[in-house]
């Protein structure tokens, strides 16, 4: 059940668009326009595009701190995501959250929470709501190899497995948590097998192979929708940049990055599109150019958007109480 040409082309565009988005963010972060720190997902596009691409619009998605790509694909307008990252008033959350906190309920992008492992338990709630309301919505929660160290992962997996909640744990194993290799902080050879302890189905997936990602997620989603409970998918992948934009990543052995760059998920799909599906290089270049244009527009939007009114800092603290402004 290989992907159709049409589907693969769409996913290719999604991946390219993530790459371009991240490259733009990197530029504007490095030149100081974007405040704060930024986690980039260059190299991990297939895992993001594949997971979101295999799910329905009505499914709940919890991207993680390295999740600009997944966020955009949920359906939030890219330019409003970009403006959020720039801290501008037209950001989807008015500049309140920035890179790490981009929530958009309208497209079921349930956002990230700067505390690693937190969304892993919040995901129980959206999944529980699906069973409570008897809808078929599945919840997909992204988590890193490092994040698996948090106690919340256990509480979540234990409860989801016991209650057979419709959750897909999308573990993006990009080898490192900041500087710590996953084999230094976890006892398993493959993290997926951790789920064996809960009798939860799990798979190790080539996270740079968009087809493999989509198919694994489709299988997991089907199980979840049938009421058979959670699945853990470990997507093996790699982040090309350091932990945050600017991290020199001196902890990586020589040649490791280059070896992974050979496995670039975008090149891989490009090759497939050309070799198997007969696309021409020019055709694909044009798609790339379109993505460029779209991102350029998003950046311009973010640059043009004004800073938020400082008084906005006092809005939305409570739904039912207005906070005092004594300034």
């Amino acid at each position: 059940m290989a992907l159709t040409k049409k589907r693969l082309l769409e996913l290719y565009c999604d991946m390219v668009s993530i790459r371009k988005f991240e490259e733009a963010v990197e530029n504007y972060s490095k030149n100081g326009t974007i405040p704060g720190f930024i986690h980039l997902s260059i190299g991990q596009e297939a895992a993001q595009a594949g997971v979101v691409g295999a799910l329905k619009k009505t499914d709940y998605k919890f991207p993680d701190h390295r999740g600009h790509g997944a966020i955009c694909l949920c359906g939030t307008e890219k330019k409003r995501v970009m403006a959020e990252i720039f801290g501008k008033v037209d950001g989807i959350n008015g500049g309140r959250g920035g890179s790490m906190h981009i929530n958009d309920l309208s497209c079921r992008n349930m956002g990230f929470n700067g505390i690693q492992g937190s969304t892993v338990v919040t995901a129980l709630g959206t999944a529980f709501a699906s069973t409570y309301k008897k809808t078929d919505a599945v919840t997909a929660v992204f988590m890193g190899d490092g994040t698996l160290g948090e106690g919340t992962c256990h509480e979540s997996m234990n409860m989801a497995a016991t209650w057979k909640l419709p959750i897909i744990y999308c573990l993006l194993n990009n080898q490192y948590a900041i500087s710590t290799h996953y084999t230094e902080s976890h006892p398993q050879k493959q993290l997926a097998t951790w789920a064996d302890g809960y009798e939860v189905p799990n798979e190790v997936v080539d996270g740079n192979d968009i087809e493999a990602v989509v198919e694994a997620v489709e299988r997991a989603a089907e199980r979840a929708r049938k009421g058979e409970g959670p699945t853990l998918l470990e997507f093996m992948t790699y982040r090309w940049q350091g932990h945050f934009s600017g991290d020199p990543a001196a902890y990586r052995p020589d040649g490791e990055l280059e070896a992974w760059q050979q496995k670039c998920p975008i090149n891989r799909s490009r090759k497939q599109l050309m070799e198997i599906h007969g696309c021409s290089g020019a055709e694909l270049d044009e798609l790339d150019a379109r993505a460029d244009a779209e991102i350029a527009e998003a950046v311009q939007f973010a640059l043009d958007s004004p800073w938020p009114d400082p008084k906005n800092a006092l809005k939305h603290v409570y739904a039912t109480v207005q906070v005092e402004d004594w300034k």
Binding site: Y60, I92, N93, G94, R96, G97, H101, N103, D104, L105, S106, M110, G111, N113, G114, I115, S118, V120, V121, T122, A123, L124, G125, T126, A127, F128, A129, Y132, K133, G151, T152, E155, S156, N158, M159, T162, W163, K315, H316, V317, Y318, A319, T320, V321, V323
Partner: protein, 325 residues
């Protein structure tokens, strides 16, 4: 409204009525469903609504995380934490998740959860089951902390808490569960951010909550004989605080005594004392006084536990000292 109910039963009734009233309300927690709760507070719910009452594992972070996620989807979970001391194991979920949801979504989503927890000391269960955890949550914008003192308040404030769209930590004092009082049969709400003036008086304002109100009332009676009029205020919602009611009272009496269970340092008496000193200093005729527990963990032995907590005599002494200042 002649019917009397215990504080425990009043809470139970509120839960039943809200389950009835709104199908998006459900309960979850350790032993809350089939057994009806470690303190018996959720009895009968699982029998009526088996799909809407969930016994969980000992996983407090998951309990609160699940509550938050489901609340964003429009449900109204009422989670039980059992002993309030256990907020420590799910503190992150309250502080960084529940409290910030509305803000994180820029107002697009809200987090209507209620977390019920049994607070306070007095039943000889030592330092891990006796703490007054209120202050640990009162520096967290986005949270609401409710502390009812009577069966009437317990029912009405729980109903309000469940209907409110922000996360509420609903504290129940273990020594109040058997307390009886008049409670209307029909559901009713008590406005959340409104302190109650429990007693009128012109000379001293005592602010107290939950079990400490007994000490305040006893002291007030005693002082009445000495010709001293005590006004007693129960904030009921500790955070956000109804500052105005307290300020108006102290502006009148010129004297403030806060009676508070739990360590003095950084207890909520600190906030009330500082707030009054800051805002209506010119009306103060005497120093503010805090009557609190000692700054120690609560020990097990009755002799030790009782020594740690404030007594009526301490309240009297504080009142006399501000009167004679």
């Amino acid at each position: 409204m002649a019917r009397k109910l215990s504080y425990a039963k009043a809470i139970n009734e509120a839960l039943h009525q809200e389950m009835e009233h709104d199908p998006s309300v459900f309960i979850l927690g350790e032993d809350v469903a089939r057994m009806g709760g470690d303190f018996g507070i959720t009895q009968g719910i699982w029998h009526k609504w088996p799909d809407r009452a969930r016994d969980t594992a000992l996983s407090e972070s998951a309990i609160i995380g699940l509550s938050v996620g489901s609340a964003v989807c429009g449900l109204r979970p009422v989670a039980e934490l059992m002993f309030a001391d256990f907020v420590t194991v799910c503190y992150d979920q309250l502080v960084n998740n529940a409290a910030k949801i509305h803000f994180m979504y820029g107002g697009e989503a809200s987090c209507p959860i209620v977390v019920r927890a049994v607070t306070g000391s007095g039943i000889r269960c030592a330092y891990h089951h006796s703490q007054s955890i209120e202050p640990w949550l009162m520096n967290i914008p986005g949270l609401i902390i409710v502390a009812p003192a009577t069966p009437y308040e317990a029912k009405g404030m729980l109903i309000s808490a469940i209907r409110n769209n922000d996360p509420v930590v609903f504290l129940e004092h273990k020594l109040l569960y058997n307390r009886k009082g008049e409670v209307p049969v029909e559901p009713y709400e008590i406005e959340l951010f409104k302190a109650e003036i429990e007693r009128k008086g012109d000379d001293i304002t005592i602010v107290a909550t939950m079990r400490m109100l007994d000490l305040a009332h006893a002291a007030a009676k005693e002082l009445e004989n000495e010709g001293v009029g005590v006004e007693i205020i129960d904030p009921r919602t500790l955070f956000p605080l109804d500052k105005r009611t307290i300020i108006e009272s102290v502006a009148k009496t010129g004297r403030l005594v806060v009676v508070q269970e739990g360590p003095k340092v950084m207890g909520f008496g600190a906030e009330i004392g500082a707030m009054v000193s800051e805002e209506i200093f010119e009306y103060l005729r005497a120093p503010i006084k805090r009557v609190t527990s000692l700054d120690v963990p609560i020990a097990f032995s009755p002799e030790l536990e009782d020594y740690v907590n404030p007594t009526m005599d301490h309240v009297l002494a504080a009142c006399r000292s501000v009167m004679s200042f």
